[in-house]
Symmetry: C2
Subunit: 199 residues, 2 copies
Amino acid sequence: MFKSAASVERLANRLARLPGIGRKSAARLAFHILKLSKDEAFELADTIREVKEKVGFCSTCFNISETDPCDTCSDPKRQHNVICVVEETSDAAAIDKAEGFSGLFHVLGGRLSPLDGIGPDDLKIKELLDRVKGGRVEELIIATNPNVEGEATAIYLSKLLKPMGLKVTRIARGLPVGSDLEFADSVTLTRALEGRQEL
Amino acid sequence: MFKSAASVERLANRLARLPGIGRKSAARLAFHILKLSKDEAFELADTIREVKEKVGFCSTCFNISETDPCDTCSDPKRQHNVICVVEETSDAAAIDKAEGFSGLFHVLGGRLSPLDGIGPDDLKIKELLDRVKGGRVEELIIATNPNVEGEATAIYLSKLLKPMGLKVTRIARGLPVGSDLEFADSVTLTRALEGRQEL
């Protein structure tokens, strides 16, 4: 596209490989980066390098971290007897942002998906069992996604963990706050009715 | 959002400053970059640096280029007596990609927009006049965008250039190929009728 500047073309090609960025957005972004000040552009480049150089995984919860154990796992102010099990780092981040949870996390690194060839051994399930066996954990909140694969993962985990004598819970599925009952799908409504609570 | 990894947070913040990328996309991109192999991530970082280090502007046509004059301006196979005037580099790239033009370009670097405080002195108009005065140019195709500001820029340029005795043309505005007459807006239809050509 930018015949006269091969490096801009190259940048656009690289950007187009990122998720959700098509050929046209990539060209627009490349062009924007070209217009940035040298400092700003270099800062962006350096932060990309930095992320790959500094960030690893916490060996306890498998969340991304610059330290091991991560800040969450080593924070004495958090409840160390409650673990929230999520699929990905971004899920942990979302829960952490919402108020109401001050326990620890366990990032599985995906969900069970036989069609994609992802079985229990591909997730950090063994590591979760080891954590639970450590004995300090009292409640395990399963917060995998409320879709087919997330539910299957939740059921698999609960079958594995309940016999170990700890409380295993699942985050509630129901109507999202601010939504319209009229437009909710029937599966969500069924879940919302099932999960009804006394006022 | 990624409390445990400050550099990921920083990267997400930088990415969120790019056009068309909101907070959530930025977080998703940052997370994707984290998952890339070290080589791929470093390649992306290096290409961003390279673009800023290598790419400048052609002092003749003001298109982006790694050389001065750019490949287009110094290509003897192109028609050096026809200049296509565009607002931005990306416009020149779009025209170059479409077939049917083998002349040179002139990138104005924007369009006249009094509301944004952009006047003739902020664009490469003086430089265009100097190029035309050079004497080799026979036709000037004004390809600014077909919106209010682009049209105003086109009219301004034609008033300035016509007295210099060269052919000044404007790219056709009409129905886009593959579109539906029924859904075309009335201004476009008016233009399409005005610009009708004998078969």
